[in-house]
């Protein structure tokens, strides 16, 4: 494994490990990985390899050695976390699929270049008969090995990336093609050494050996792969269990302790229990499973509404039930609407919290975002509020209207107040 002696000094991070890049590679990703590691353009490294290749094929050996010893990494080389078995690699959409990749123009050019280089290389060698006898089979063998190895890389990579639809047939085909090439090469060596007359018998023998090996090792291999995948599943389960246990241990037990200590203070107990319940729910029912990035700014409507409700709930100790239909990204106008909604929640909790939980409903329908906040408190009359009390008028109605939305306050027939906020999304958002 090459050490990090040649690291550029601009990078104060701990020494990076050398990985082969699984993205944008032509063959094994060696050149790309090296380039990333050394901080050089890829093309330089590739040229160096080609140059070395012309020097008696040394480049090929070096490349093969790198391919063999350097582990495959994801997304270049700065990936310092060990690739876990559970793929959490969030690849941008439009990533080309692993096995059924269409070679792009660059790759075709590269292949042609390689063929040209190989031909010049073969031509440049003063070949007598014997060398020629070995060369072509050797090339065949190399091609077969490269094919199979590339396949193994793909299989490994597919395990971290969440690629559900691996095309098994294609994988098998590639492997079979590789095996065929290698077999052809190896038998070719023997045949060309002897004469073509032996071809049939050599092929038969080779086939017989292959079948024998398959029969002997096949069941064993199958069992090993099954055991492996089973073991992997168990490990993933154990990991998840440990994560749940840790979470429960950290936060739930903590909260229970606090609740016992504050047993006399009913409001505090209620607040603690609600906060813990919310935390646990976010943790259990978030699609991603980890809803714990409290510090991050919300960037969608649903997150913003939930966040605001949670904060108001914590501060005022009144439960707020949130129902959200649809979702959209936040823009300036919706941000203003969120602030108005938060103000409405605060009012509902302060003045209407006696009547039970505050109900918040947010809905995205086409371009319109509608939010309603209702409480079951005594209700209040907007006109009866002195003009110097700017709370509702400014922070809810004024704010909505300045941003091109509408706000309505109404008394609900059976008691309580409802604030309805409506806003069109900005045009720029899709």
């Amino acid at each position: 494994m090459p050490d990090a002696a040649t690291l550029p000094l601009v990078d104060p991070r701990p020494p990076r490990k050398l990985y082969r890049s699984s993205d944008g590679r032509w063959l094994g990703g060696v050149a790309r990985g090296l380039a990333g590691h050394l901080g050089l353009p890829v093309i330089w490294v590739r040229l160096v390899f080609v140059g070395l290749f012309l020097a008696h094929g040394f480049g090929a050996l070096l490349y093969a050695a790198f391919w063999f010893f350097v582990p495959l990494g994801v997304g270049g080389v700065d990936e310092r976390r060990a690739p876990s078995l559970v793929g959490t690699e969030t690849s941008p959409h439009g990533r080309r699929r692993l096995v059924a990749r269409k070679p792009d123009r660059g790759q075709i050019v590269a292949l042609l270049l390689m063929v040209v280089v190989a031909l010049t290389f073969v031509g440049s060698m003063k070949l007598d008969g014997v060398a020629k006898v070995y060369l072509i089979p050797a090339v065949l063998v190399a091609a077969g090995v490269a094919l199979v190895w590339r396949q193994a890389d793909n299989a490994r990579r597919a395990r971290w990336m969440e690629v559900g639809s691996r095309r098994r047939t294609l994988t098998l085909l590639r492997a079979a093609a590789g095996v065929l090439l290698v077999t052809a090469g190896v038998s070719g060596m023997f045949v060309l050494q002897g004469s073509a007359a032996h071809l049939g018998s050599v092929l038969q023998a080779a086939l017989a050996v292959l079948v024998g090996i398959t029969l002997l090792a096949g069941p064993y291999l199958v069992r090993i792969t099954q055991d492996l995948s089973e073991e992997r599943l168990m490990r993933i389960r154990a990991q998840e269990r440990a994560e749940v246990a840790a979470h429960v241990h950290d936060s739930v037990l903590h909260t229970l302790t606090l609740i016992q200590r504050n047993a006399e203070n009913a409001n505090e107990v209620r607040r603690l229990a609600r906060a813990q319940e919310r935390d646990l729910r976010a943790w259990l029912y978030k699609p991603e499973g980890t809803g714990k990035d409290e510090a991050e700014e919300p960037d969608t409507l649903a997150e913003a509404v939930r966040r605001n409700a949670a904060e108001v709930e914590d501060k005022h100790g009144v439960p707020i039930e949130v129902v959200i239909v649809g979702d959209c990204p936040l823009d300036e106008r919706i941000g203003a609407q969120m602030q108005a909604a938060r103000e409405a929640m605060v009012n509902a909790a302060k003045y209407g919290g006696e009547g039970g939980a505050v109900q918040v409903y947010a809905e995205v329908e086409g371009r319109t975002v509608f939010v309603s906040v209702r409480d079951r408190g005594p209700g209040f009359d907007l006109d009866a509020i002195p003009a110097d009390r700017m709370g509702v008028r400014e922070s809810i109605i004024g704010r909505m209207e300045r941003n091109g939305g509408t706000a309505r306050l109404r008394a609900v027939p059976d008691g309580g107040t409802e604030v309805e906020l409506e806003m069109e999304r900005a045009e720029t958002t899709s």
């Binding site: 029912y285 039930e321 239909v325 649809g326 409903y361 309603s372 059976d414």
Partner: protein, 235 residues
């Protein structure tokens, strides 16, 4: 665990209405709490005739006692509430004396909620519901109406949101404008009475809208619904 609470019915308080209920929940503390809140038959009209803590027990108790309403927890050992519904399907469909199910859960997951409704439950409420609301819901389910919590209404609106996919069955895959309005108000925390006032219709009409939505929810083959309903079985 299950001790049939066969008290002699004392006529009084809510004498004109009686409902026989079975509680199915794997948390004993919760069963005790619910029992204490709703089980005083003279006051509430609710008579708890049996309890069960897992799927097998539940099926046995329900067959033995033939209650009118079953309060059913979604998460149960032995296959969950959905399994109880599956095994009691014949009782639910009985025209003479149907057993009706009301799902009760702490879960927030759409597939849990939609799953039990599609399994045949007549409603879904969260466990934070107050005692009096729960009693209301039980009587409503006994009468054959549907009970939607705000959260369930939200899920349904989400599931029936307009998509580009052409509906397979025009009748089942779309909500009418009125149904949508009713669901929205439920999601906003309105009681049926308040919805009736708000839309200038009778409470009965509100109930029939909700029942129609429930039917669509159970029978429609919309992609979202089937996805939610099968999500748990795929895991």
């Amino acid at each position: 665990m299950s001790d049939a609470n066969g008290e002699a019915a004392v006529s009084g308080g809510n004498a004109d209405r009686r409902v026989r209920v079975v509680l199915v929940d794997d948390h004993r503390m919760f069963r005790t709490g619910v029992q204490a809140e709703i089980g005083q038959t003279e006051l509430t009209g609710v008579e708890v005739v049996g309890e069960a803590a897992d799927v097998d027990q539940a099926v046995a108790v329900i067959i033995a006692t033939r209650p009118e309403v079953v309060l059913l927890d979604v998460h149960l050992p032995g296959g969950g509430g959905v399994e109880v519904l599956r095994r009691c399907a014949s009782l639910t469909a009985d025209p003479e004396q149907p057993v009706r199910f009301l799902a009760l859960s702490v879960s927030d997951a759409a597939e849990d909620v939609i799953g039990v409704i599609r399994g045949g439950a007549r409603g879904y409420v969260t466990k934070t519901i107050t005692g009096s609301d729960l009693i209301d819901s039980i009587f409503r389910v006994q009468e054959g109406d549907a009970v939607f919590s705000p959260r369930l209404a939200g899920f349904v609106l989400d599931a029936f949101a307009s998509t580009d996919a052409p509906p397979v069955d025009e009748d089942l895959d779309r909500l009418t404008q009125r149904e949508r309005e009713v669901l929205r108000l439920i999601a906003r925390g309105y009681a049926y009475k308040e919805i009736a006032k708000q839309l200038f219709i009778s409470v009965k009409t509100v109930e029939s809208h909700v029942s129609a939505v429930l039917r669509k929810l159970q029978l429609s083959n919309r992609h979202e619904l089937t996805r939610w309903a099968t999500a748990r079985r795929l895991v």
